[in-house]
Symmetry: D3
Subunit: 192 residues, 6 copies
């Protein structure tokens, strides 16, 4: 694995920590302090400080906010939609987070490949069905789709959350694919 440590994490320039704006460097150091490493998405996006700040603010607004969706459920949405978008970074990194959030070492791989066969509830399958439709054919989302969510106990705010998470990570998936963003090796084993 030594040589992989040398592999590029982006096909675009990646700034050194010392060259980053102070607020970004501090955020990265705080993450490193907490997690033991800096997820590559931070380093890759730091090439564009304004976009970095907006991306992180948006991410936190969706993933850290209070709400009925558990944090594990939000990560399920990320993992399932990212796999259909074939985003290596997002499936591997958010797979790790999902394992931790769900305290379940199996669920991330299950949800990534085919959530319909995963050890999740019917309510969670309905949630991902909706997120997948947003990812693949949002133009055809209609009241019938909202009604299914409602039947499973989701309210208006949950519906917005599911759609917004699917949409935001659809953007993230595209950025990660275009930059050839490389997942940190740490993610592969976290939570297994």
């Amino acid at each position: 694995m030594d040589q992989s440590a040398e592999l590029p994490i982006s096909r675009f320039p990646v700034p050194a920590l010392a060259d980053m704006p102070a607020d970004i460097r501090e955020r990265l150091l705080a993450v490193q302090e907490k997690s033991g490493f800096i997820p590559n998405v931070f380093l890759v996006l730091a090439h564009r400080p304004d976009e970095f700040r907006a991306f992180l603010a948006y991410h936190d607004a969706l993933m850290e906010k209070p709400g009925n969706l558990t944090k594990a459920e939000r990560e399920m949405i990320v993992v399932a939609t990212s796999n259909v978008n074939q985003c290596q970074y997002c499936v591997i990194a958010h797979g790790a987070i999902l394992r931790v959030r769900a305290k379940n070492p199996l669920v991330a791989d299950q949800v990534a490949v085919n959530y319909r066969k995963a050890d999740i509830t019917p309510r969670q399958k309905a949630m991902i069905d909706f997120a997948m439709k947003v990812a693949l054919a949002a133009y055809s989302v209609g009241e019938d789709d909202f009604a299914i969510l409602s039947d499973h106990g989701f309210d208006q705010e949950d519906m917005w959350d599911i759609a917004a998470i699917s949409g935001f990570f659809g953007m993230s998936n595209r950025l990660a694919n275009v930059t050839s963003m490389r997942p940190n090796e740490e993610f592969y084993t976290i939570g297994r």
Copy 2:
């Protein structure tokens, strides 16, 4: 048209100006002052203040930043990808902006429906080809695609810009479709 003024602009709650956080209300009033009306995207997203702020910050980071892509070219990317995503709000609103930016009353409708037949340069067609691939199959973007952009004189930063604009509006398209965001009537005629 009177009755359409009464049609909902979102299937989710829309806050009154008086109920918005002050920073958001001020931004909306500034837009209204400048444009003569408040684009509905501001009102619809104001339902979620944190997401509103992140969305606008991200938007401005991509659309207002300096760079080799002209503002009209950035709008071309938005209009073409939004139509293939069948996003009514984005095609109609950004079509208006494109007409203004390009000082050309025809180009927005041309680019929306089939940019390959639009009155734009081969370089611009290559730019949109790339943006469309990011929108539809970002997982398969590779060095061959970057080489075509390079042949047309785009540099690394331009490539990031094209991809990021396509990705960001892919998210925006999904939000607009899920919220049934209604385009303001003003957009239909601006710049014609």
Copy 3:
């Protein structure tokens, strides 16, 4: 716009009026007399007089015949299916006609991009749902689809009309794309 007046309207030869068969020239002059200009589809297809005559006869048989579908509704079918087929000429030209027929400056752009969000009736949405299925997957049209139309009050003849209009303009969309048929500038503003 001066220079665009010089842009080719077809990648195939376009005959001069003086070189056309008399019946075709007369039809074109009559159109010019009535509309103030000759839509380019007439000039492009005049390259093939027999096909021109058959095309126009078919067009009129579907679009001018009596029936329960209003003329505006027939144009809605054209506009929605032409956009999914990415036919620039048909969306722009028939968008103009739709605005006139519907006496509504907004409906054409709405229907083109995403008819599901347009200011049209549920009956009209069901009509376009059917037309889109004919355009995209006619092999799977079955009695369930006819039953939905019937529930919305469409009779057998209406069903044929919807299917035939979708099919005819599917052909027209393909011809316009292959010939790079250019929309006349007049269409962009008619009915706005």
Copy 4:
């Protein structure tokens, strides 16, 4: 087979010969005289006399006109595109015509299922490649596609012919599927 003679040939009304306009009845009787039977497409479309006349005129303008494409080659286009459109009537009826035109009992079934593996020339495969792109993605047809045809010796008029035949039968495929048009039993064995 007796019972199949009783099966409906259309899900829409089919007029009796006696009830048809004289010109249509005469055309049908002439066909019957020549071929020994009346292909069901004539009977099904006779429900709409004006469309019948336009359809036949268009058909003859494309399939009977002089030109570089042989009659067998025109039928190859019909058979290949009709199969990808899953049109039972067109594959079976035009398969019969192709066998006769090509004086080859094998070629129709080969071209229908996968023309890339058929006993046809590379030039004919290029012709069908183009016709298939017109059928499936006409919006993306561009000069590269025309150049391939040119390399195989096709001229401008041939290119129009290929596109127009693909487009016309795309319409015909949709009509046949929506009407559940039934192929005459005679077609199954002609030319084998």
Copy 5:
């Protein structure tokens, strides 16, 4: 047809009968004895004796086993799914077998092009609907699909059979396409 007898039946090497392992040669001679010719699939796959044996064993396990599906019904599954997979060998060879098994000269061509319009029972259409979903989107097969089969009187073992036949011939279709496996001329007329 003489020259076609000389056309290759595979783009890979085809062993002479004399060079085949004895068990395979004997099986081929037995087939020739019974059918009057050796279907090319046997000769093409004989290039790989172990795969030949496994392929035939699997084929017979699915197609010769007792069960509620008639032999004709099993062939319907093969013919319909092979056409959507554009496998020339499988449609033509199994079309012949279907005509014989069903004692019906029309059904194979009907089922190949569009089984929804074929002279088969609603139960058989449901069977092919399921087989097509297995061929095209097996990941989304769920209890709703099994329930439809159950409503038509299929039991658990029938469901497995339908899925396994669709899956096995999906493999066979891929092999035939990659090897450019050529259908024997005999198949074109058997059972007509």
Copy 6:
């Protein structure tokens, strides 16, 4: 994890070891002896002894045979195509085998989600490109595709191997999805 041990491994009946034919039981016990557990695919397919035997024989003929493709490379094909087919069992089980064969804990997750970004050689990417085309559009595989493989040093036998592995696991993916075959928990951590 205790409760997941109770979850069904198939939606079809699974025989007890004691009820299996002796040859199958012995094979399973041998696998258990060697691996420490019985992969569920063996138990699920044991419901159909003849299919079990053919499946295993085919599997071994492709995966255990000598040849230029390494065992790790064969597993790469399985993992990449199984993910695009959304087959949970195959991605998870063969991901484990790939990690072991490649002596690389990262490669399986990388190849599963987007092999174009994996730590593999250009030759291996070309191999998977071909395998993916066989999985998704085998009808269009042609000499251009074989030429690319040849440029990367693959010979005729390698080409057959790649296609056959893709085809065989395409069948396996469909069976696993239809049976809701559950991956053993052991697979998730093997080789990490």
